[in-house]
Structures are given as structure tokens and as C-alpha cells.
């Protein structure tokens, strides 16, 4: 019997073809919308052509074999007819014409495509999209889709067939969100925009016949505009999950995953305990944690994690200091912290004395300073600064949650900017809760423009700290 087992070497990555060149696809200067309709005004391709023509700094061409005129612009009869090189083709023709259209794009030297058209694997015709993928692979021609919304790059390009006035768009920022579902992407964009979280890129990959999560992970890992990479994933193909987590571990940026289909279990009855317990989702979730991918289990976690990790990329342990002008808010935050595995170390008398010594005279006798720190409704900006300065310097804390109620009379709208600077100086993550009411917008932006994430709920603020603790293999 052999009794020595060497620990294994780290798993090796199977060789993969060279990465796709997505530059012209995601940063196009010239765009063709193929499949515009001269009969149906609100045809998806027309919506796309119209919004790009009116709103984006790219040159756009409409294509339909019939030619003619759309919204006063020439309609070209084919991609070859366009006199200059086209970077991005948006293909919105019927499924049976997509293969020929793709061939034309490749022949014309187009840089890449998004195939909006439906009628493929989602209706039981995987063969059609396989033909597209085979052709594209042969010619190293990247395309997104089919059956997708395509891409959104703030201020640059938007291929969604949703009229501009109906869409809520995040501003330019550091988060890239890759979604198998177009609907989920649009919905999340609305939420991100409401919370002021900026996008570097949004991609709806639809049936992901060619370009899949792994390809985009590799592209985004090297993309200088992207700081946080988030995915909405329904499932991986055979063996693909392992390659994805291995690539995510090599990626220097935080990777966040939001999974649907958590409850569907294998169809076949299983006769071992292990197979029964280790269902698809249990394995998925364990693999994410093992490889340092931050799994969001609901939409609130997704937006909170994206916002927190776009401000603070360094993983931390979970010891939290809480500052509030309200004892109740402090207590609620403590409950939420402990539920999410974060600890609230108490300050001893000597530590409390040191903070108290620097508080304003009206707050000094009434503040509670054990952690959570309750500065009371009389707290001034200086009191918040004093407490934050002390907590930011503490070696016993990894992050600070500030629960700010702007109703208290002594707080000014400069506070966010000032606290942001304190914590940046000490390199201690600060996360703020401020009720998102329009009249406090200046205060909120004071935090946000100084790199401090702000949540409109206490729970959101706690989840932001949790994100920082999860951004590492565990």
C-alpha cells in the first residue's frame, strides 16, 4: 500500500485558439444595419438604425436588398455597395438569410457582427446557428448572438432594438455586464443607472453560438476601460464551467456572477449521496467561491457588489466599524452584518476615551462609542470626521459603514467629499448609506465623486462590504 500522496499541481488549462479581436466590434467607427424595413416603420432594425444615426458618434448605413430611402437616408442594397470599410454589422434579417448575410460581411471585410435575429436554438434549430459559428470560426470573424440585443457602450454604440426614449442607460463607468438574457441586461441597466453605477460595456450574448462568456472574460480582463466584470449566466456547456473559473482566477479584476436556474436539478434519479447533494447549482456555487469569483444570489447583491468592487478592488477581512447619528440604524446594521458573516469588534474604554476627547462639546457627553458609534442627532461634520479618522486608522477594522441621515441639522452637503478624502488617505474602504431622495443628491454625489459607494438601503451597504470580503478564493 502506498501511503504518500503529493498535493496536486494546479490544474492546467486546455489549449484554446487565440483570443478574438473584438476591437472593431466593440469600438466601431462605421456601422451597417442589415435588414431595415421600408414597410414596417418600427421594425427592430429601423429602431437601431435611427438611434445610432441620431445619437451616436459613428457613421451608420442602412442595408436592404430592395434599396430605397429610410428616414431620409440612402438604403444600400448590400454590404458590398458601401464604399468604406464597415467595422460592425448589425444583422436583423430572417434566420434563413443569416448565413448568406454573414458570408457577405466576411467577404466585405467587416470587423464583426451582432446577430439580432431569432429562430435558432431557442426554437429547436441549433443546426442553423452551428453553421454560422462554423463559418465565422473559419474566417476568425467574431459575432455576438444570435437571438440577442447586442452591445451597449455608453456614448459610443448601442445596438438594442429599444427606442432611445424607452431606455434607461447607465453613464460611462467601470462595470462590464455580460448577460445571456437581453431582458435581464436592460432591466439591470435601469437599476445601475438609478444608483449611478457606470458601464464600460453591456453585452447581451443570446444563444452564444460563437462568442461565449469565456471569450468576453478574456477580452474584458485586458480592456483598460473595464474595472469589474459581471455576468448573468443561465448555464455552461459541457466542461465549460471549469475553463471559466480557471480564467477568472487568472483575471486581475473582480469577477461577479449572478446565476439563474438555481433550483433545477438533474433529471435522472441518482443513487449516491454525493450525486444527490452535489446538484448542478451546489457545484456551480462551490466552484465560484473556490476560484475567487463573487457570486451574487439576487439582484440587490448584483448591483451592490458591482458598485462596491468598482470602488475598491482589494479583498479584505470582515471586521466592520459603523458610524451613525442614530442608535437604531446602528443596531439594524449590526444585525445585517452578523447575518452576512461580518464582525463588529467593540472598542474598549481607552479607545472610546480617545474618540470622545475630540468630539464637539454638545456631542461629547451623549455619544455612544462602543461600535456601532452613535454620534446622536446633534452630530456635526467635524464629529463624523473625528470618528471616521479614528476608525480609518484602526488596525482592528477592515471597512467602515457610515449610516447618514441628512435630516440632522448640523450635517452639511460637503460631508461626503470630506469623509471620502479621510478614508482614501488611510486606504480604508468606506461605504455610505444615504436615503436616495432627490434633495440629498448633492450630498450623495459628494460621496460618489470621491470614490465612496452609496447605497439607498442599509442592507445594500452591508452587502457592499460583503462583496469586498468575497473577492478572493475561499
Amino acid at each position: 500500500m502506498q501511503n504518500t500522496c503529493e498535493p496536486p499541481k494546479s490544474p492546467s488549462m486546455e489549449s484554446r485558439p487565440a483570443a478574438w479581436d473584438f476591437k472593431r466590434l466593440f469600438q466601431p467607427k462605421t456601422v451597417a444595419v442589415i435588414g431595415v424595413s421600408l414597410k414596417r416603420e418600427r421594425h427592430p432594425a429601423n429602431v437601431i438604425f435611427n438611434k445610432i444615426h441620431l445619437r451616436y458618434p459613428v457613421e451608420v448605413f442602412a442595408v436592404n436588398p430592395g434599396g430605397g430611402d429610410l428616414f431620409g437616408q440612402t438604403v444600400y442594397t448590400s454590404i458590398q455597395e458601401i464604399s468604406q470599410p464597415v467595422d460592425l454589422a448589425i444583422i436583423a434579417v430572417r434566420a434563413e438569410y443569416t448565413l448568406d448575410t454573414l458570408k457577405d460581411c466576411i467577404d466585405a471585410g467587416v470587423g464583426g457582427a451582432t446577430i439580432i435575429s431569432g429562430g435558432f436554438a431557442e426554437i429547436g434549430r441549433p443546426d442553423l446557428q452551428e453553421q454560422l459559428a462554423d463559418l465565422a470560426r473559419q474566417h476568425r470573424f467574431p459575432f455576438i448572438g444570435p437571438n440577442c440585443l447586442g452591445i451597449y457602450v455608453p456614448g459610443n454604440i448601442d445596438t438594442f432594438f429599444i427606442p432611445s426614449e424607452r431606455m434607461v442607460r447607465p453613464e460611462s463607468g467601470k462595470v462590464a455586464l455580460v448577460s445571456q438574457s437581453g431582458g435581464v441586461l436592460v432591466d439591470q441597466m435601469t437599476k445601475f443607472a438609478e444608483l449611478g453605477i457606470g458601464f464600460s460595456l453591456g453585452v447581451s450574448i443570446g444563444n452564444k453560438a460563437l462568442v461565449r462568456e469565456l471569450d468576453l472574460l478574456e477580452y474584458l480582463a485586458a480592456d483598460p476601460d473595464t474595472g469589474v466584470i459581471a455576468f448573468y449566466i443561465e448555464g455552461f456547456a459541457h466542461g465549460e464551467g471549469r475553463k471559466f473559473v480557471q480564467a477568472a482566477r487568472r483575471c486581475p479584476k473582480p469577477v461577479i456572477v449572478f446565476k439563474s436556474g438555481k433550483t433545477s436539478e438533474g433529471m435522472r434519479a441518482v443513487s449516491s449521496h454525493t450525486a444527490s447533494i452535489a446538484g448542478d447549482y451546489a457545484v456551480f456555487s462551490a466552484a465560484m467561491a473556490q476560484y475567487g469569483i463573487v457570486e451574487a444570489i439576487n439582484e440587490l447583491e448584483l448591483v451592490s457588489f458591482c458598485e462596491a468592487l468598482s470602488c475598491y478592488g482589494e479583498p479584505i477581512d470582515g471586521r466592520v466599524g459603523i458610524i451613525s447619528p442614530s442608535g437604531g440604524h446602528g443596531a439594524l446594521a449590526v444585525d445585517l452584518c452578523s447575518r452576512h458573516g461580518l464582525s463588529i469588534p467593540a472598542f474598549n474604554q481607552e479607545q472610546q476615551n480617545r474618540i470622545r476627547a475630540d468630539l464637539s462639546s454638545s456631542v461629547q457627553p451623549i455619544a455612544a462609542l462602543t461600535n456601532p458609534i452613535d454620534l446622536t442627532g446633534s452630530a456635526t461634520d467635524v464629529d463624523f470626521m473625528t470618528a471616521a479618522e479614528y476608525l480609518a486608522r484602526s488596525q482592528e477594522l477592515d471597512a467602515i459603514i457610515l449610516l447618514l441621515l441628512p435630516y440632522t441639522p448640523e450635517v452639511t452637503s460637503d460631508l461626503g467629499a470630506r469623509l471620502g478624502r479621510v478614508c482614501r488617505r488611510h486606504n480604508k474602504p468606506l461605504i455610505a448609506y444615504v436615503p436616495h431622495v432627490e434633495r440629498y443628491r448633492m450630498l450623495i454625489e459628494g460621496f460618489e465623486f470621491n470614490g465612496v459607494p452609496v447605497s439607498p438601503s442599509i442592507k445594500g451597504a452591508v452587502l457592499m462590504v460583503k462583496a469586498l470580503t468575497r473577492n478572493k478564493p475561499c
Binding site: T4, G241, R242
Partner: protein
């Protein structure tokens, strides 16, 4: 080579769909895992001579290609203290439908853990560590990890169990030998990687872990359907 040996044993069991306990234990033993000393008997007259150097108490289990869950059919007896008892158990087992032989092994004690493996379609080979015994699926206190696993992975797996304090010694109970548990899991994970294309799932349950050793008291290796996919 380990892989060749695994293939030989698994090919033999292919049509049945799972590997018998004696074969599974022999395979695991040659992969570096500890199993109790055991013998198999088909003739009650052999019992006395064959168990002579095992000592008492002993455990006895039915060996049958038709019975996967032995305890469900009354095919497991523990705490046997004499040849007379062993012979009586043999007679009872031999009346059970599908009886082929009886496995007799040394009793082992310790904390009951489960160590398992599964070929996942999306992620490939996965290993599991958890609280074992018949209540595994009720408590579901387990940690999962993509294989292969190393020492730091095993530490994280133990830390991930609700019952982790039980493994470090809790209220008068002795701690399990962490080095042995780690070695067992690392060896098991190597075995799983070598068998990856050939198996569907494995339960080592219970694995009895004490201050001295971790011993695989029961083992079940499930094979993929003959024409079915093998997740590699």
C-alpha cells in the same frame, strides 16, 4: 499504473453499473487510502479459519451485485463477537435475494464522515467532504470543491462545514487527525482524477476518523450508463 488498475476493475463492473465493496476497497487501498482489514467468504465452514487473525469485534456485510444499499435490506451487522454469531449472520444473509458472499471486516470507530466525488457536466470532477452516516442527505452539511484538491483546499473544506468544531474536538470528544484527513482527501482526489472519464460518482461513507486514522468503512463507486456520456 493506478489508471490501468482502475480501468481493469471498472471494466469488470461496467454492465452492473457499480463496483462491489470488496473491489472498491482494494482499489482505494492501492490508491493510498486506509480500509479495514477484510475477507470475503462464500462457505460458512471457512469462516473460522479465514477470520482467525482479524480478532473481534467484527462487522459483516452482504456482497451482492443486485444490492446497492446494503443497510436498507438488513445486509449490515456490526459488533459481532464470536464465530457462532458470524455463522448465524452468514445464514441470515444467505437467505437474502441476490446473496453472493459475505464480507467480514475489523470494526473501526471514530467520527463518521463522508468523502465523495461526482463528475459534473459543467465543471468536471468534484470532491465532497461532509458529516457522514445514514443522515447525510438530511443534514447536508458538506463542502464541495473542484478536483484536484491540495492541502489548502482541504483546510477550506473543513472550515466550510457547520460541524467543523466536531473535527477539532468538542466537549470531551477527541479531535480527528487533521493530517490523516488531509492525506486521505488528497489521495482520494488523485484517485478521482485518474478515474475521471470512467466513473459517475463515489460515496465513501462512512469514513471513520479518529485521533489516529481515517478509515474508509464503506465504499460505493457508481459507473456511468454503458452508452451514456462520461464527463471528463
Amino acid at each position: 499504473m493506478l489508471k490501468t488498475e482502475i480501468k481493469t476493475v471498472l471494466d469488470k463492473a461496467r454492465t452492473r453499473g457499480w463496483v462491489s465493496e470488496p473491489d472498491a476497497k482494494r482499489l482505494l487501498s492501492s490508491s493510498g487510502l486506509e480500509v479495514p482489514r477484510f475477507v470475503t467468504v462464500t462457505d460458512p465452514d471457512q469462516i473460522e479459519s479465514i477470520v482467525a487473525d482479524l480478532g473481534f469485534p467484527l462487522a459483516a456485510k452482504i456482497v451482492s451485485s443486485r444490492i446497492v444499499h446494503k443497510s436498507d435490506v438488513g445486509g449490515v451487522r456490526t459488533g459481532i463477537n464470536s464465530i457462532r454469531e458470524l455463522t448465524a449472520v452468514f445464514e441470515t444473509f444467505s437467505l437474502l435475494d441476490g446473496f453472493e458472499a459475505m464480507l467480514i471486516e475489523q470494526m473501526v470507530s471514530g467520527l463518521e464522515l463522508i468523502i465523495g466525488a461526482k463528475m459534473d457536466d459543467q465543471f468536471g470532477p468534484v470532491v465532497l467532504l461532509g458529516m457522514g452516516g445514514t443522515g447525510v442527505e438530511i443534514y447536508q452539511d458538506v463542502s464541495l470543491r473542484l478536483a484536484p484538491v491540495g492541502i489548502t483546499d482541504v483546510d477550506a473544506m473543513i472550515k466550510g462545514l457547520k460541524a467543523a468544531p466536531l473535527l477539532s474536538g468538542y466537549r470531551g470528544h477527541r479531535a480527528v487527525n487533521r493530517d490523516e484527513l488531509t492525506r486521505t482527501l488528497v489521495c482520494f482526489s488523485k484517485f478521482v482524477m485518474a478515474a475521471a472519464g470512467m466513473i459517475e460518482s463515489i460515496d465513501l461513507n462512512p469514513v471513520m476518523c479518529s485521533e489516529q486514522k481515517c478509515i474508509v468503512a464503506d465504499a460505493r463507486i457508481m459507473l456511468p450508463p454503458v452508452d451514456g456520456p462520461t464527463a471528463a
